[in-house]
């Protein structure tokens, strides 16, 4: 079976699923710098998409637009059937559906790990505290650090902090998870512990969009790879297609630099 056959099969399989994220001609400027230039893409349920590209290519900006940390200026973004507009209710709804993990973890330093995780379920999802704590402990178990619940983020290592951040995002029971270079700020020996958690998450069927430089992760887990440059989507394809036989010159150049 050729690569294109595989792609076709994938496309057909995906077409049967729900759309989770739909972007249509999204444009965004910072001052006179165009960060996003006509981004059009559809991400399906349970799909794992890895976004690659040189720094400054707009990949972070794009996923930050998806939960409205940045507002796009033109085009449409629809997440799980809800369009991102100025509508407060839509923004609230999307943010509680979309979990996000940051490069710098951004844990709340004045709260314990447990409080970090239960804060949003209690105040946004309006869950009872006991229930939220139970869930939080289960999530800590899942990311492999159940014993750190009472500590403060400053007492944890980078890898542990990032896993807490993932647990915090999962505590909202999101349908989509966004990862903004989750391993870039980590020491090399801690990267794998975070990637393992992400792989497990991908296997469990979470819709994921990951900006990363971890090519191994992309090869192993991604259903689809999107390559961006200068705010545009240059190429989209399965990992095999992307890493073995990219069709665009710019992609080849990028891969030759990075591999």
């Amino acid at each position: 079976m050729s690569v294109s056959d595989a792609t076709t099969a994938l496309t057909e399989e995906l077409a049967a699923r729900d759309d989770m994220i739909v972007c249509e001609g999204v444009n965004k400027w910072f001052g006179d710098f165009q960060a996003l230039d006509g981004i059009t893409a559809v991400i399906k349920e349970r799909e794992v998409v890895v976004v690659l590209g040189p720094s400054g290519s707009g990949k972070s900006t794009w996923i930050r637009c998806i939960n409205r940390l940045e507002a796009h200026q033109e085009g449409r973004i629809v997440v799980d059937g809800v369009e991102l507009t100025n509508d407060v209710r839509n923004i609230e709804r999307i943010r509680s559906e979309v979990g996000m993990v940051f490069q710098q973890f951004n844990l709340f330093p004045h709260l314990t790990v447990l409080d970090n995780i239960t804060l949003a379920p209690i105040w946004v999802r309006k869950r009872p505290r006991d229930e939220a704590e139970e869930l939080a402990r289960a999530l800590l178990e899942r990311v492999g650090i159940p014993e750190q619940a009472e500590k403060y983020p400053g007492q944890l290592s980078g890898g542990q902090q990032q896993r807490v951040a993932i647990a915090r995002a999962l505590a909202m029971e999101p349908r989509i998870m966004l990862f903004d270079e989750p391993t870039s700020a980590l020491d090399p020996e801690m990267i794998s512990e975070v990637l393992d958690v992400m792989k497990e998450l991908a296997r469990s069927g979470m819709t994921m969009m990951v900006v990363t430089h971890e090519m191994g992760f992309a090869r192993e887990v991604a259903d689809r790879v999107i390559f961006m440059e200068d705010g545009q989507i240059v190429e989209t394809g399965t990992p095999e297609h992307f890493f073995t036989n990219p069709s665009e010159e710019r992609t080849k150049l990028f891969l030759s630099q990075i591999l």
Binding site: L69, L107, F108, V124, R129, G154, A169
Partner: protein, 715 residues
């Protein structure tokens, strides 16, 4: 030993600092191996310039200390003016038969402080036994030097004259006269010799490498420089005392103090024997308790101060002193403080700290209101009115508001909640508009309650949650209403405690009360202003910036004049503010601008990632601000906030200028107008400075420690 005892610089500090002194972070104990000589060489005589500086500044210290002591203990000082007026200085004309009320207030604060410290304060490293003992002995030495240094008031046939005679006999009158006339020339010569030696030392490399003899010569010269001053003093004492006994009776107590302090210090030093145990640390809190206990106990031994003023007429009562009338209450206060502290420690051991933190803070916020309006004022309630109007109204708002809160905090309230909130806001605004146009009458507190309810309704959906969460909110509302209505009723009832001014209490009491209420008013304002100034909403930002810049740009005194003289013009005819309330508002508006700037600094220190993470997990702006941004920002701005608290405390002295009988005004204007102490000002002012200094200094030291701790814990 590492620190020279009775060093002159420490002598310039008030003795009180020495016993209340906490370990000075800046002054780490030197290595024990460093000998006295090495320490001197390294710190005082490392080079010629340094030696010169040392000598010049030592003399300067000596002069300053001597001047201060002579000023304080001169025969011309009428310290009796302060002692007799203690009651006036601290409470002004608060009626004497109602003093129990003041003690209740002090007691309440003692209990709360003890509990809070016991429950929440860290034990900390505290103060080492070595340092404690050195401080005690040092204070003793400083006092001893002070007694010797002060002008001896050449007593007729007494000590001073005897010395004068002895000196004259030994060296001849002409020598003493010559010394008197040429004291500064002699000092100058000694200084030059000192300098020459220092330069010579410098050529030898360092002081330490020089031969022994010149070092001894140097020491002699330094001592001689000081000695000349002392001798000159003794030789030329001018003030004559009645008798030797008179002079001694005053000094005997000081010698006793020297003996006690030095004895206690020595006992600690030698009693603990080896160096290792001397280096053990005693928690500063315990040292403070013991120190305070000694002070209180001393009231049972020594009759500190007199007091006077019965029915506005000045009657000095040397027989009954402040110490004698207050030693029982002070002992009770001390016992309360220590007892509460121990209770707090027990609760802490039972891990009750986190649970009790919120109620304790609530109590602290409520205390000033309750103490001022319910305890100090003793309101005379009109029970008919209370039963027929006040209580029903409070119950109505509690029940109605409670239901509204319960309804609006339902997790899935949605649009219905918004509509309810808007309706409530409309009603609240309508009430005030109606008041302006006289459409219908309504009690002011009903309007305020409605307004509060509207604000709560607008914010309610941010705090929605499960059953227990909603119950808590309802309870909070009911509690707020109960307190609010109770307070308003109290404020509206006339006081049975009759005082000549509308300030109820004066002196240091009013200083503290105004400072506390100022901060209570200013802090929320400051937070709101800081939030508005850093917000990205332009109108909020412009309004806040304008407010802050204007109020920081004008002197506080003009604001106080505005709020005490003119502000009543801006109020409706049937409303007016008494001076003290106006002044408090002026202080609060002024402090709020400064607090806002401090908090703004903290807000800017909160990283952008924190905002993004809160947004990403779906917190609303209000939740983000309350749960994430403010806690972090306030933590960062604790040191500048404490600085502002100190500033506000000091600024309350401006009350004196707008004619309120505060601490300063009593010392400055009231005492000096009493027939017995006509024109006696400096004593009272020095005393006032001293009390202000103790409070401000301790607060700033504490804040420096907190800052250091925060800095260490910085993540």
């Amino acid at each position: 030993m590492t620190v020279p005892m009775g060093d002159p610089a420490a002598a310039a500090v008030d003795p009180a600092e020495a016993w209340a002194a906490e370990p000075e972070p800046a002054q780490k104990p030197e290595e024990p191996s460093l000998s006295m000589g090495e320490w001197l060489g390294r710190n005082l005589f490392s080079s010629a310039v340094n030696s010169l500086l040392t000598v010049v500044f030592s003399l300067l210290v000596l002069l300053v200390v001597r001047g201060l002591l002579n000023f304080m203990f001169s025969e011309e000082r009428t310290w009796r003016a302060v002692k007799t007026n203690m009651r006036f200085l601290f409470t002004h004309a608060y009626p004497q038969d109602q003093y129990a009320r003041i003690w209740v207030c002090v007691g309440a604060i003692a209990v709360l402080s003890g509990l809070s410290i016991g429950l929440l304060a860290r034990t900390g490293a505290g103060i080492s036994v070595k340092k404690l003992s050195i401080n005690l002995m040092g204070t003793g030495a400083v006092i001893a030097v002070g007694i010797l240094l002060r002008e001896p008031s050449a007593v007729v046939d007494g000590e001073g004259m005897a010395l004068h005679r002895d000196l004259s006999a030994a060296a001849g009158d002409s020598f003493v006269d010559w010394l008197d006339a040429n004291a500064f020339a002699v000092l100058g010569a000694l200084l030059l010799a000192n300098l020459a030696l220092a330069v010579w030392f410098n050529f030898q490399g360092t002081y330490l490498r020089a031969a022994t003899e010149p070092r001894i010569a140097h020491g002699v010269l330094v001592l001689a420089s000081g000695g000349v001053l002392i001798v000159q003093q003794y030789a030329t004492g001018e003030i004559v005392r009645e008798s030797f006994a008179d002079a001694m009776s005053d000094r005997a107590w000081w010698w006793l103090a020297v003996a006690v302090l030095a004895g206690a210090g020595a006992a600690l030093w030698f009693g603990l024997g080896d160096a290792r145990r001397r280096n053990t640390f005693v928690p500063a809190m315990y040292v403070f308790f013991v120190g305070a206990g000694v002070m209180v106990l001393s009231g049972w031994v020594y009759p500190w101060g007199h007091y006077a003023f019965l029915e506005g007429e000045f009657i000095a009562e040397p027989g009954s002193t402040v110490a004698m009338t207050t030693r029982l209450p002070w002992t009770v206060m001390w016992a309360l403080l220590v007892g509460a502290f121990m209770l707090g420690r027990m609760l802490r051991a039972a891990r009750a700290g986190p649970k009790l933190r919120v109620p304790l803070n609530l109590l602290w916020v409520l205390t000033p209101f309750v103490l001022y309006w319910a305890v100090l004022r003793d309101p005379d309630l009109d029970w008919d009115h209370v039963l027929s109007t006040d209580i029903p109204m409070a119950v109505f708002f509690a029940v109605f508001g409670g239901l509204v809160v319960w309804y609006l905090t339902h997790p899935r309230i949605g649009e219905a909640g918004r509509i309810t909130a808007v309706v409530l806001v409309a009603v609240a605004v309508l009430n005030w508009v109606a008041a302006y146009f006289d459409w219908y009458a309504m009690l002011q507190k009903a309007r305020i309650s409605f307004l509060l309810l509207a604000v709560v309704a607008l914010l309610a959906h941010h705090f929605a949650g499960d059953r227990s969460q909603r119950m808590k909110l309802v309870a909070a509302w009911v509690g707020t209403m109960a307190v609010l209505h109770w307070m308003v009723t109290l404020v509206n009832s006339p006081s049975t405690v009759e005082t000549p001014t509308d300030a109820l209490i004066g002196g240091f009491g009013i200083t503290l009360i105004v400072a506390v209420f100022t901060l209570l008013l200013a802090f929320p304002m400051g937070v709101l202003l800081a939030l508005a100034r850093t917000s990205n909403l332009p109108i909020f930002r412009v309004l806040a910036t304008g407010y802050i810049e204007v109020f920081r740009g004008v002197p506080l005194i003009t604001l106080l004049f505005f709020f005490t003289l003119i502000f009543n013009l801006f109020l409706p005819q049937n409303m007016s503010l008494v001076d003290i309330a106006g002044a408090t508002i002026g202080f609060a508006l002024f402090s709020a601008a400064y607090l806002a700037e401090n908090i703004r600094g903290g807000l800017q220190a909160v990283r952008r990632g924190q905002y993004e993470a809160s947004d990403a997990v779906g917190l609303t702006t209000v939740q983000r601000t309350l749960f994430i941004v403010l806690p972090q920002a306030l933590r960062v701005s604790i040191p500048p906030l404490v600085g502002q608290v100190i500033a506000t405390f000091k600024e309350t002295s401006l009350l004196a200028v707008v004619g309120i009988f505060d601490f300063l005004r009593i010392a400055d204007k009231v005492i000096s107008a009493q027939s017995e102490f006509l024109g006696v000002k400096r004593e009272g002012l020095l005393f006032v400075s001293f009390i202000y200094w103790i409070f401000a200094y301790n607060m700033s030291k504490h804040s420096q420690r907190v800052e250091k701790r925060l800095g260490v814990g910085e993540r």
